[in-house]
Symmetry: C2
């Protein structure tokens, strides 16, 4: 094995660091490419560690360390005795991977799934702010959707979604309403787009008249504003979502370490 053959070959420009990249990072990159290219679909098993080791001509330990990192980033899931599987938003034991709103009391899943009401879903031109978040140009086509989520019959979340028009051609309100399971699971199945990580900006705001009506609260009620940008592989932003959460019976839970 050449000690460090690939890594930074292209442009020998200014770099204080020689850009040393461990073998296992390079392997991780190769596996990531395969994930990205769709060589293995969400929920499927990827080849065994031995197979991958043979394929890349490295030891099993090196593949193992690469997969360890992918598992830590939730891109892949290991199951002892069975194999390593491509992560998916469907059939994941946590129903909503990115939703951190939990009921104040009672079991996490005692509520069951949310009841969805899709109010709107149409193609529009991206406003400047949306375009910026999605790395598009102002005026590019985006799909905009608005919906209300209720838990146990109580409307709790109203949210607006913006999605790049190119990637989400043909997305309809019916599709959003009828699909069983997380919306991100539908994105995987119907559009082949996998959300892999997200970043949220949280604020407290007062409900305006329309929002208040949708959530059945008094206008001016404080609501949690959660602005989320979700990314696919390669740090490509693929969704902007702005949710308003009622926090009288639920709260946003966060673990710090």
């Amino acid at each position: 094995m050449p000690p460090n053959p690939s890594a930074a070959d292209a442009a020998p420009e200014m770099q204080a660091t020689p850009a040393f990249s461990p073998l296992y990072q390079q392997i991780k990159g190769l596996i990531l490419q395969s994930l990205q290219s769709g060589e293995w679909k969400p929920g499927e098993a990827i080849p065994s560690e031995m197979d991958l080791a043979a394929r890349f001509r490295v030891s099993q330990g090196t593949v193992r360390k690469a997969i360890d990192e992918l598992a830590a980033e939730n891109l892949v899931m290991r199951r002892q005795g069975k194999g390593t599987f491509v992560a998916t938003h469907a059939e994941q034991h946590v129903q909503y991977r990115f939703l951190k709103l939990v009921p104040d009391a009672g079991d996490l899943d005692s509520e069951g799934p949310a009841q969805r009401t899709v109010l709107e879903c149409r193609r529009v031109r991206a406003p400047a702010e949306v375009a910026r978040a999605l790395a598009l140009r102002t005026g590019d086509a985006v799909v905009q959707a608005r919906r209300v989520l209720a838990f146990g019959g109580v409307p709790t979340i109203v949210e607006d979604l913006w999605l790049p028009g190119n990637a989400f051609k043909g997305l309809s309100a019916e599709q959003m309403a009828d699909f069983q399971g997380p919306t991100y699971a539908m994105f995987e199945l119907e559009f082949g787009i996998r959300m892999v990580r997200a970043q949220e900006k949280i604020r407290a705001v007062a409900a305006d008249a329309q929002q208040a009506q949708l959530l059945k609260v008094a206008p001016g009620t404080p609501l949690l504003s959660v602005e989320r940008v979700a990314y696919t592989y390669n740090d490509t932003p693929m969704e902007l979502r702005r949710g308003l959460y009622r926090t009288d019976t639920h709260h946003y839970r966060n673990e710090l370490s």
Copy 2:
């Protein structure tokens, strides 16, 4: 080496799982005990991997995996070429490890450190709710403190702290105001208590008259209510903190994956 000697020895009671525990987990537990007992102080280096391997009579790789997990939990910090160091809230390049409020624009540290105003700091009897959060009994002694944090002269956070009276004997308002650096760093230095992880419950609330005055906003202004329980080793709760954040110029940032 006996294959699995320690682990669950004490009570052979009902357990569907034979409670198999890998060697590296046991080593991790031993290192954790040493951290807990204060054998190594915050900021100090722990023994090298080779030394620990010799001490516990295992291979370096096993120690390494144990330390890997401790590092992942931010209990310990590795620095290549130098050693492995006990994590500390002082001199950590992120000034405030548990504070996720960031300015909407500008560098994260362009604001500099917060200006603290301690309004109150006294011993009281724990109300039921506080006692529950801190695993005390109602009426036990606790230290209660209230303070305002300002950034660039703008009051942005008002927060109440509750600390177990036993562990924080003698904590004074002056101490809280005068200490340079994060409050959690003071807890380490003055009381030998290290906060290791925390859990937050976030809600949107309306400012009452007093809160509004302290933050110089109109009464009724929506504020982020952040209720944090911070834990030392062993999942022992050692602080309850309730902060109210202005979110007109700042936001709570969260990364999901």
